[in-house]
């Protein structure tokens, strides 16, 4: 589904990603872990198409297409979704309006009919229940006045509505209390499926107790320095990242199948 080869990205003259190799297949859940400043969030935003990064080398091929050549909205319409670490507040625009505009843009791209307000509401209600979200959130401006937990839940809720093929979740667990973490994890698990790939970008392995990954990769200094199964996350939890940075040698490809 997604093949990242030797990806290098810089901000100004500062190289942050220094040769990422990673292959993600449908149905897989990958966790990307790593210390602060290792480039985890940069990787997530480079894939989603944020401005301000220069891709100096390498490529990312999503379902046979050059992902990095697409505009952010084109990537979303093709099925890429990024749950933000810091969801943005949009004053004056209701969650309902925002999400319906997004869904219909994606549906239109896929040649599906646009949903009217009634059908949309029906669909949305079911998904809200899963995430234990109050319906009143739909009429409130996007993320404005939401608590940290509500914002994160809202990201996963958007993912549930937009049904992406590839979902990248950037630090979705940070700032969540244990109850919220369970709810959010439950929401993510429900979205696992043979057609969908999920990438969990996280600093801690806490989330991985609830959403068990198929592969764990450790990112350090802009490269994937170690890849393994879910046990790797536990190892990291016990030993910390320092152990890795000492013994690390760059590996050529992330997940081998």
């Amino acid at each position: 589904m997604l093949e990242i080869k030797n990806l290098h990205a810089s901000v100004d003259t500062n190289e942050i990603l220094r040769g990422i190799n990673l292959t993600i297949n449908p149905g897989e859940v990958h966790a990307i872990m790593g210390p602060n400043g290792s480039g985890k969030s940069t990787l997530a935003h480079v894939l989603a198409g944020r401005d301000g990064y220069q891709i100096t080398q390498g490529e990312a091929i999503f379902e046979g297409k050059d992902l990095l050549a697409m505009l952010p909205e084109e990537r979303a319409r093709e099925g890429v979704f990024l749950a933000f670490q810091y969801p943005v507040e949009i004053a004056g625009v209701s969650n309902m309006y925002f999400l319906r505009a997004a869904l219909n843009a994606i549906r239109k791209h896929r040649g599906l009919d646009e949903l009217d307000a009634m059908d949309f509401l029906k669909m949305v209600r079911e998904k809200m229940k899963i995430l234990d979200m109050d319906e009143s959130l739909m009429n409130r401006p996007v993320n404005e006045g939401f608590s940290g937990g509500e914002k994160k839940r809202n990201e996963i809720f958007q993912m549930a509505v937009l049904e992406p093929k590839l979902a990248i979740l950037d630090e979705t667990d940070s700032g969540l209390d244990i109850d919220a973490l369970r709810t959010v994890s439950e929401g993510i698990n429900r979205l696992r499926g043979p057609e969908r790939a999920i990438v969990l970008v996280t600093h801690y392995q806490r989330l991985l107790n609830y959403v068990v990954p198929d592969f764990v990769h450790v990112l350090a200094d802009g490269r994937i320095v170690k890849s393994g199964g879910k046990e790797l996350a536990h190892e990291l939890e016990e030993k910390g990242y320092v152990w890795l940075e000492e013994s690390a040698e760059p590996v050529k490809s992330g997940a081998n199948h």
Binding site: L71, V88, A101
Partner: protein, 450 residues
Amino acid sequence: MSAATESRTAYLANFARLEQKLTQGDAWFHRVRKEAIARFAELGFPTTKLEEWRFTNVEPIARMPFHSAEFRADGLSSELLSELPLAHAAFEQRCSRIVFVNGHYNPQLSSRDLPDKLIASSLASAIKHEVPSVREHLARHAAFQNEAFVALNTAFLEDGAFIEVPPGVRLDAPIYLLFVSTADQPIASHPRSLIIIGDDSQASIVEDYLAIGEGAYFTNAVTEIVAGKNSVVAHYKLQDENEEAFHISTVDVHQARSSNFTHHSISFGGALVRNNVNVALDGEGAECTLNGLYVAAHKQHVDNHTVIDHIKPHCSSRELYKGILDDKATAVFNGSIIVRKDAQKTDARQSNKNLLLSEGSTINSKPQLEINADDVKCSHGTSIGHLDEDSVYYLRSRGIGAKEAQSVLTYGFANDVLNKMKLDAVRVRLECVLLARMSGGHTQLEVEGQ
């Protein structure tokens, strides 16, 4: 002789012609007209040397040889009018509608059935019939001593609306005043309205200034509003003139004890627009809310001047004006709050926020607080900003296109002004017009959530 002096002379000659048409019943007001034209002759058109007109140059108005609005365009159909986005609500809703075409009352397009107790008529006929409340209030609130445009309007007053709601009446349906310019000729019209809301009464009045067709014309409107004790008045002033039009308007409000007045000012159109709103809080416990939105693009210029005069104690005022400027548009916000010596416990808040969508657009924002009492709460704030890049990215990352993301965010910026409007029919129409403006004409798509 300079162009401005020439133009002043032309106005004086027009006045002489108007005087010949005045009849017996006009005598009492003829005296007021004479005072006003004399004052205009002294003042002339304001220049940018005057502080109040520093950023708004009215020379294009002074230079233009506008005819008096003797020109009528009868034969306009209500079907045609109701297609105008902002006029739509006035034809769809159960309401009282009074229509003026090029400043002249048009009975065919106006509602036949008015609610009992409501007086809603042409001001010209009310002057002729010497209605006592008209004699008492007309030209008493909109002072022309220092305002050339109010003086012109007073001198050339031909018609407008006279609304009187007697004490203790609650009007459920809004009153729509439609001022339509047909813009086929360079005419000047001076619509004048007098709105008197009795003690303990409640009413909503919508003033719509609209254009059919292209070409320059000059609208110089004055509205006087008298809000009686304990009355609740909502006044909407919507302006969507064509992009060659000159629009100067003055709204003067007098509020009695415990009255509650809300003014919504929406400016979309016009080449050169100046809106003056002056509110006198002249009774304890009176509250006023001024709520404004101006949207300008190309080379449009829009200037909002407001004065809230806290005369008596325990009054509160809330003011929020928001502007959206694109291309080479320029705008002015000048919000003045005066707290008189006796107006203790005044609670005044003012805010002006501007969104600049282009590098070439300009806003001059100036709050003016003049506080002469010591136990008061007054605050003001101004902001000028561009669209937030993170917000644009967030929307795009969800599949929303760049252009639509911009229009959604701009709409969101304006939304808290529109949300304060209690008349749903007006608010919904304005949302449509706004979204259409933002997205270059794809109204339907946007409103359907595409």
